[in-house]
Amino acid sequence: MPHFFESREQRERWIACGFLLPNIIGFLLFMLGPIVASLVMSLFRWDIFTAPTFVDWDNFIEIFSRGSGLGLYLANTLFFTLSVPLTMALAVVLAIILDQPLRGMGFFRTIYFLPVISSAIAVAIIWQWILNKDFGLINALLIKFGLAPVDWLGSALMAKISIVLMSIWKGLGYNILIYLAALQGIPDELYEAAHLDGAANWRRFIHITLPLLGPAHLFLFITGFISTFQLFGPIYVMTQGGPLKGTWSIVYEIWWKAFREFRMGYAAALAWILFAIIFIVTLLQWRYAGRKVYYS
């Protein structure tokens, strides 16, 4: 029996190996391995039909050189992130309302949450339909109220706005849920004290509620920013990056370069630039906003 020769620690090492193995094999093969491979790939030129050639930093240099379109699709992607603060602003107000001890709040919460649980593709198709220039619900309503119909997906700017509107609609319920959970954590005594001091409602909102929701703001901003930067499905369905590349986002460009133009090294390099952006923004948020956030 090996137990007689091995110390307790050594035995525990083997046991730990057994526990870790099933997960770690998958983790190495499908996560860590590809991450390292992607780093290496970004230094190669590879069209999948011929052997890859080492090109040093050429892919990165090309991405940052004129005419690569980096500025355009970065600007488009940043435009989409407008949906993040807008959703948060709507959600914080609705969460405070839904937090009131009134009847039917559960019902409304459910309604607001339905888009969150829906598939992004289904939502994108639905929005394509209600934004339809000739027969869509939104233009029908605009006409009914005597306004001019809008060609929602017809111009670069309006298509971007459409994606933002859809993102707000889809993400609102999630934001509300996170704010509601955070509101439960604010002690009632703070409000009572403010009430006794005669603070007006909106002042209590500005000076107590909003700052105390700090961790929720930070969390929603960072996760919202990251997921917006990774938006792909709705763009593919609603606009295919158009019109005139008006909704061509960074992820759309990665997909296009990799699986349409078969420029694998270039696409890998671009994916690392996406990572760098996400990483830096998260870090800045933690450092500058995180310091001011109040944690209970």
């Binding site: 090492r13 997960n23 770690i24 499908f30 609705l94 849920l177 990799a258 994916a271």
Partner: protein
């Protein structure tokens, strides 16, 4: 709690009602479209004519593309990802939470670090790994890369850390193996966390698009979201049928949510806010 005046109550309900209508209108309008005949699709009526509900769209759409098959594919893939993820990550999480081995904390840090890497970074090498195994257009090609994210290991490790050690220590003194402790003590005590993780992984996998879209192209193998995009590209302005297909993809998920919403809401707050 201070009393809420009737006037304020009215404002509150009015705001919620307007918001609720905005949220529900796109869904309702699409459902309505799916129940209209193609000729009536653009009539702008708000209620379906009771005697003329047009179920034909659903029959048509199932004939154009095998939506029943898509449904089963999505179910099978999401269930497999969930089972694999929960099983392997709970094992690994136990090792990280309770066992001593060299490099444990460093390895856990590597796990954590990968959480920050967006899927787009790994997707290109992943494609070639899957291709190497011959899994392009195969279920394992969709399932396996989604089943080993660090998220599950991280969440469960955090949860296991909160379980007091006393019970385990007693069992080990009584001669129970580590696996018995994991299986008979830790897992039963972690049911809420396991349920939360399962629901999460399942919903994410069910709605996942980018990776299945890249791996799958054979119609018989598609998941619902990928199948929907095929319908969109093939029948761009066939709105009544398009909406019928969308409803087939959407309504079961919404139904599941409405039934399990308490659990799901709690899970989102737990996982999203820890």
């Amino acid at each position: 709690m201070n009393e809420i005046s009737n006037w304020r109550r009215l404002v509150i309900y009015l705001v919620l009602l307007i918001g609720g209508v905005v949220m529900i209108a796109p869904l309702y309008w699409s459902l309505l479209t799916s129940l209209k005949s193609p000729a009536e699709a653009f009539d702008g009526r708000w209620l379906p004519a009771a005697d003329r509900i047009y179920w034909q769209n659903y029959l048509d759409v199932v004939r154009i593309l095998p939506f029943g098959r898509f449904f089963l594919n999505s179910l099978f893939i999401a269930a497999s990802v969930t089972i694999l993820q929960v099983l392997t990550s709970s094992l690994a999480a136990y090792a990280f939470a309770r066992l001593q081995f060299p490099g444990r904390d460093r390895l856990f840090l590597v796990y954590l670090a990968t959480l920050m890497v967006p899927g787009q970074v790994t997707i290109i090498p992943l494609y070639f790994i899957i291709k190497y195994f011959g899994w392009i257009d195969q279920y394992p090609g969709v399932i396996l890369p989604a089943a080993f994210t660090a998220m599950g290991t991280f969440l469960l490790r955090q949860f296991f850390m909160t379980i007091p050690r006393d019970l385990e220590d007693a069992a080990i003194i009584d001669g129970a193996s580590r696996f018995a402790v994991y299986w008979k003590i830790i897992l039963p005590l972690s049911l809420p966390a396991l349920a939360t993780l399962s629901i999460f992984v399942f919903i994410n996998s069910w709605n996942d698009f980018f990776w299945p879209f890249i791996v799958l192209s054979d119609t018989e193998k598609l998941t619902l979201p990928v199948g929907l995009t095929k319908l969109v590209t093939a029948h761009t302005s066939d709105w009544t049928r398009l909406m019928a297909g969308t409803m087939i993809a959407l309504l079961p998920a919404l139904l599941v949510y409405i039934i399990f919403q308490k659990y799901i809401n709690k899970g989102i707050v737990l996982t999203g806010f820890k």
